[in-house]
């Protein structure tokens, strides 16, 4: 794994000696491939140039890391339990950040802020119970750490924290404890990473179907703690639909329900204090999840629309129908021809088609939706036909299975693309929201325009990339992703500027009826808006839960509240 970028050390984009973009490694379908359009796209969209590089600090300089504040009494007692721990600089730095732009940017510059003073690796539920007890006893601050893929500053150590901070890494708690084939549930330790969970279940012929874009690295406990969402949620549901039972260790003790009833009317659901608690109340240690037999049949697909408006109208229509139930779908806005070269050259043919068919057609407004159908073969084929029929009504044209598959693959490698950008003075971020259907187009237009306006006002030379995509559909609305990136050459404090623009974009989202977050969570990045999001009383409720469960703020990452 990289210490200052996304993903595996062997996988990254680079420009080879011929100046062609290439994706290294062997892990992905794209690995080892040349991506011809990428250079032109970087140059054209951002005004970036291969001559101007902004290289990262190659290795961690451990002298830049603050010496650890050790709570000796705590360390002694941890030693006695034989739970492994470390105070090495590298281990501490690795667990001090998520993947927000400012976090990665600082690492690339070799700047290290407050980091945990110690890392512990419990290997089971009872280890966690011991650690939490000791932390309470010695007044040590605990920050749970799962896959480290947070994009809400949730893993940042509060700089004002004076106690010893201990990172509780759940990665060793990665076993499937049992599978119940009668009830179709699996009981799993919370440190397991998404792809391992899926692989292990697959070996027994099952799956959870929970596939967030980060599933290669993110953990089950992290999903629960942030209310995660996966791209196949239309078929399998979001994390809150999948969870049957949760065990969480808090300074007050362990919270769990007494049975596995599929639904209960027993007052407010205590699971909902746990889901989305973002590590402020305790550590999730074990989860019972719904599982499904692996799908009999999978089929990719893709549809191209003449413009974003038509595409959104089509998705809305699809969301109304039954066929959405077996469909996962992302919807890409305005793929510029260069990026589309990642897709096959189907574009040229399409352009000709649209030009003859639609008046006033503009190839730059073209949009692609990628589709994935899962289920039994007959249903899939039937739903597929229904979806293509609806698409046709909105000017959508089927663009093949292959492109659908490539679109899927793109979601996993897109995070690597940001690292490439940073090598060439381009910084960027994605952020998401959920919004009622009738506001989807308005919010997309207004937020994009706001980003462009803010950049202009703040003196960014090159126009920024400001685009969006619809990634999830619901009965009453959709999840929308925004992508924002720009070339920062000539700016003295690009990160500060970037944060201001992102802040403005979030205000615009809220003003246009969008939510504070669909699934990334609040962390520390967005907590200033919590009060207006959940109302004074709502915030008070959450605070009183925190005060009861963790009066001494042992889980002191200061997220959310």
């Amino acid at each position: 794994m990289k210490w200052n970028g996304w993903g595996y050390s062997d996988s990254r984009f680079l420009f080879n000696k011929k100046g062609q973009a290439e994706f290294t490694g062997k892990r992905y379908r794209l690995s080892g491939m040349i991506i011809p359009g990428l250079k032109d796209w970087m140059e054209g969209t951002f005004g970036a140039s291969l001559q101007h590089k902004a290289p990262a600090t190659p290795i961690l300089n451990s002298t830049a890391v603050q010496p650890a504040t050790i709570n000796e009494a705590f360390v002694e007692e941890v030693k006695a339990t034989t739970i492994p721990f470390s105070v090495e600089a590298e281990d501490r730095v690795f667990r001090a950040h998520g993947h927000c732009l400012h976090e990665i940017f600082a690492l690339r510059e070799g700047k290290i802020g407050r980091v945990p003073d110690m890392v512990v690796w419990p290997s089971c539920h009872s280890d966690v119970v011991k650690i939490v007890e000791l932390a309470s006893k010695h007044n040590v601050c605990l920050i749970p750490y799962g896959g480290g893929t947070s994009v809400s500053s949730a893993l940042e150590c509060p700089p004002e924290e004076t106690r010893s901070i201990v990172s509780l890494d759940t990665s060793q708690m990665n076993r499937i404890l049992w599978i119940d084939e009668k009830n179709l549930t699996a009981h799993v330790e919370a440190g397991i990473v998404g792809q391992d969970l899926e692989r292990l279940l697959n070996e027994s012929g099952y799956c959870t179907g929970h596939e967030p874009d980060s599933m290669e690295f993110s953990s089950l406990g992290g999903w629960v703690a942030t209310r995660a969402s996966g791209m196949k949620k239309n078929i399998y549901g979001n994390i809150e639909d999948l969870v049957v039972h949760v065990k969480m260790v808090t300074p007050r003790g362990v919270i769990e329900k007494s049975c596995q009833g599929p639904r209960m009317s027993t007052g407010p659901d205590v699971h909902h204090f746990i889901m989305g608690s973002e590590g402020t109340l305790g550590v999730v240690t074990e989860v019972t999840l719904k599982i499904r037999p692996m799908p009999e049949y999978q089929k990719y697909g893709s549809v191209v629309f003449p413009n974003f408006e038509q595409g959104v109208a089509c998705l809305r229509e699809v969301a109304k129908q039954v066929c959405a139930k077996s469909l996962s779908c992302f919807f890409w806005h305005a793929l510029k021809p260069q990026v589309s070269s990642i897709f096959t050259s189907f574009l040229d043919g399409l352009k000709k088609f649209y030009i003859t068919k639609f008046k006033g057609f503009d190839p730059n407004r073209l949009c692609v939706a990628t589709l994935l159908f899962e289920g039994d073969r007959e249903k899939v084929l039937q739903h597929e036909k229904q979806v293509y029929d609806i698409a046709a009504k909105f000017g959508g044209l089927a663009a093949g299975e292959d492109n659908g598959q490539r679109g899927y693959m793109l979601t996993f490698v897109i995070a690597y693309l940001r690292d490439l950008g940073m090598e060439y003075y381009v910084i960027g971020e994605s952020f998401e929201t959920s919004v009622p259907w009738d506001r989807v187009l308005d919010i997309c237009r207004n937020v994009k325009a706001r980003i462009i306006r803010e950049c202009k006002d703040k003196g960014v030379q090159f126009p920024p990339l400001s685009t969006c995509r619809v990634t999830q559909t619901y009965d009453a609305g959709a999840c929308v992703y925004f992508y924002f990136a720009f070339n920062y050459r000539g700016l003295s404090d690009p990160i500060h500027m970037f944060e201001q623009v992102e802040h403005a974009a979030r205000e615009e989202i809220l003003a246009n009826g969008g939510s504070l977050s669909h699934h990334h969570g609040v962390g520390k990045l967005r907590k200033e808006w919590m009060r207006e999001t959940v109302s004074d009383v709502g915030l008070g409720m959450l605070k009183s839960v925190k005060d009861y469960v963790d009066p001494n703020n042992i889980f002191g990452n200061r997220n959310l509240l």
Binding site: N446, L510, A511, G513
Partner: protein, 634 residues
């Protein structure tokens, strides 16, 4: 100044080639153009109208289809049908008409360039002042000339009724709104959806007169907020990223319908707008009306104006077709202020100020001495410039000639007699032998009200200092606090007469103090305000400037309290009765020589007093006003 006389080019090249020029403006970037009929179709099919149709159908006994048909008819009556061909026809005709009426039409190119930019960025609302019928098409004419998309224009329905002309206006982009809509729910819904669709789609710039009515008195008229509401809603509900408001000030040396307006103010009703009436008016077209000045103001971003003042997420919890209300006052008043700042004052307006301070009997009989008029006007010119006025004062001409040309231009109001200038009164119809005393008063009043209207053109320059001067003179106080309290009181009473931003009394007061100090009329410290020796002249001019308003208010208060309440004990009279009664009361006072203020006859002031009394409410308040107004007289 970067101003261009657009008539100059018209005088040098052919009108026909101007009308047939290539017209390919840069439109709004977001949306592909749609036709006028698409616009109507979108309006009818909108979610909002569907929602309202359902509501109305449930409330009444009508079926959905019937309601929809009603709406379709309303929309047919309302909708514009902008066509380039008719813009060209209009361009050709207006070239001819304007050249005949005006010596110059100045347009500020800088403002025009800003507008051109703004139109590509976001939906644009053009908001001109409304002082004359001419306002109606001048903007379209200028925009056509400079290759900028021509607007659709909100107009009163009576215009649509004019044979032929109505249709021409419709095809030149006018859409028609009924005068009194009242509580007609369907009409409101159709109108607002039509307007909002225009804004949302960026169909064309939308032009409307925020004052609603043409100002009869040439001062700003309180805004009609309904239209403003409709125009702003798409921004507040997030349907557009931003809306740009462009305040436009149209200033006239001489207003086409000056005498008509004065007659209306005296209660002689406005003639119905007919094509025949228009041709009758062609006599009016034989005259010279000096120059016109079209000043395109700095475009205002609604987004910026409302930043931090409104929480847009408050509309997140209801479907957007459900009606909500929000701040529009502030936006409107900002537009007003920019309109005022952008308007140009002609030397004649200053002369009118001076003339009005001369006793009426002198004006009607012997006249004012020319040299005095000239000296006072030149003195006032200095003061106006000091106060920041935009004056249009020809440079290469001697002052004497400038003023003489003004008298010549306004021969309908004043005439030179020897070394004096006196008021021109309407000719007596030949068939009449003798006029009654009342008719005599009316004859003088027509001319005096015209003068007053021209004075009002420079009202925004002198108003706040004049209020301060009055307060200083009445209270005889030098205590700043006391002056401020009385200033606020005066402002409250006059708030129906003049447009103030509510809650900005301190700023108004400070502004007045600053201007008075700047011209050396007062000295002030945190506690005290004192008039300087040299300042006496300024103070007395300013007091006299605003005196007609204050006198009119006093007279009417006296009438309401003494006559209406105490003597007849009748506290329930209709507005029409009130106007008639007040008018005859005022005429009596004028005839007896007790009152010099002819403006008290103006229905405009009467209306304003009435609404002031209404808002100030109880009799107790009236007593207070009355006592204060006695104070003002002393």
């Amino acid at each position: 100044l970067g101003e261009l006389d657009i008539l100059e080019e018209r005088r040098q090249s052919g009108d026909l080639s101007h009308a047939l020029r290539t017209f390919s403006p840069q439109p709004y970037k977001e949306k592909p153009p749609c036709s006028a009929s698409d616009l109507s179709k979108r309006t009818l099919e909108s979610q909002y109208l569907q929602y309202v149709f359902k509501e109305i159908a449930t409330e009444s006994s009508l079926s959905m289809e019937e309601v929809k048909e009603d709406a379709r008819l309303l929309l047919e009556e309302m909708s514009q049908n902008l066509q380039l061909g008719f813009i060209r026809l209009m361009g050709y005709t207006l070239s001819k008409v304007f050249k005949r009426l005006y010596t110059n039409i100045y347009v500020n190119m800088e403002g025009l360039n800003m507008l051109q930019q703004a139109i590509q960025e976001s939906p644009v609302i053009l908001m001109p002042t409304h002082r004359s019928y001419i306002d109606f098409l001048i903007i379209s004419y200028v925009l056509f000339t400079y290759d900028i998309p021509v607007p659709v224009i909100a107009a009163g329905l009576p215009l649509a009724g004019m044979k032929l002309v109505g249709e021409i206006l419709r095809r030149s982009g006018a859409f028609f709104i009924r005068r009194s809509i009242g509580s007609d729910k369907l009409y409101w819904a159709v109108l607002s959806e039509y307007v909002k669709t225009i804004v949302r789609t960026g169909f064309a710039p939308l032009e409307f007169f925020v004052e609603g009515l043409r100002s009869r008195t040439l001062k700003s008229v309180p805004p009609k907020l309904g239209m403003m509401h409709m125009v702003l809603e798409p921004y507040f509900k997030g349907e557009v990223f931003d809306i740009t408001l462009v305040p436009i000030s149209i200033s006239y040396d001489r207003v086409l319908e000056e005498s008509l307006l004065a007659h209306e103010l005296l209660g002689i009703p406005k003639p119905k707008e007919t094509t025949k009436g228009l041709f009758k008016a062609t006599k009016v077209l034989q005259e010279d009306y000096g120059c016109m000045h079209v000043n395109f103001g700095q475009p205002l971003s609604v987004r910026e104006l409302c930043q931090g003042k409104i929480n847009r997420s408050q509309y997140n919890l209801t479907p957007r077709q459900v009606k909500t209300s929000y701040l529009k006052h502030l936006v409107t008043l900002t537009v007003f202020r920019i309109q005022e700042e952008g308007s140009y004052i002609s030397p004649w307006s200053l002369m009118a100020c001076v003339l009005l301070q001369c006793p009426t009997s002198t004006l009607t009989e012997r006249g004012m001495v020319w040299s005095e008029l000239k000296d006072r006007t030149l003195w006032l010119k200095k003061l106006a410039l000091r106060f920041g006025a935009h004056l249009r004062w020809p440079e290469q001409v001697s002052d004497q000639n400038v003023l003489l040309s003004m008298v010549a231009l306004h021969h309908s109001i004043v005439a030179h007699k020897g070394d004096r200038v006196c008021l021109v009164r309407e000719e007596v119809p030949i068939r009449k032998h003798r006029l009654s005393a009342e008719e005599e008063v009316n004859r003088t009043a027509v001319a005096m009200l015209m003068l007053a209207s021209y004075r009002n053109q420079s009202l925004h320059i002198f108003l706040r200092p004049a209020m301060l001067a009055t307060v200083i003179q009445v209270t005889k106080s030098t205590q700043r606090d006391e002056l401020f309290t009385f200033f606020c009181f005066l402002k409250e009473i006059l708030s129906n007469e003049f447009i103030f931003v509510p809650g900005k009394s301190t700023q108004d007061f400070e502004e007045a103090c600053f201007l008075m100090k700047d011209c050396g009329a007062i000295l002030f410290s945190p506690e005290e305000v004192t008039v300087t020796e040299a300042g006496q002249e300024v103070v007395s001019f300013l007091c006299a400037f605003i005196q007609p308003f204050i006198r009119s208010y006093q007279v009417m208060n006296t009438y309401v309290i003494l006559v209406c309440y105490y003597t007849t004990n009748k506290n329930n009279i209709s507005e029409k009765e009130f106007h008639l009664a007040v008018r005859s009361f005022v005429v009596k006072l004028i005839l007896s020589g007790e009152l010099q203020t002819y403006e008290a006859l103006s229905s405009d002031i009467q209306k304003n007093v009435l609404s002031a009394l209404r808002t100030l409410g109880s009799l107790l308040e009236l007593e207070k006003i009355f006592t204060h107004s006695l104070l003002l007289t002393s």
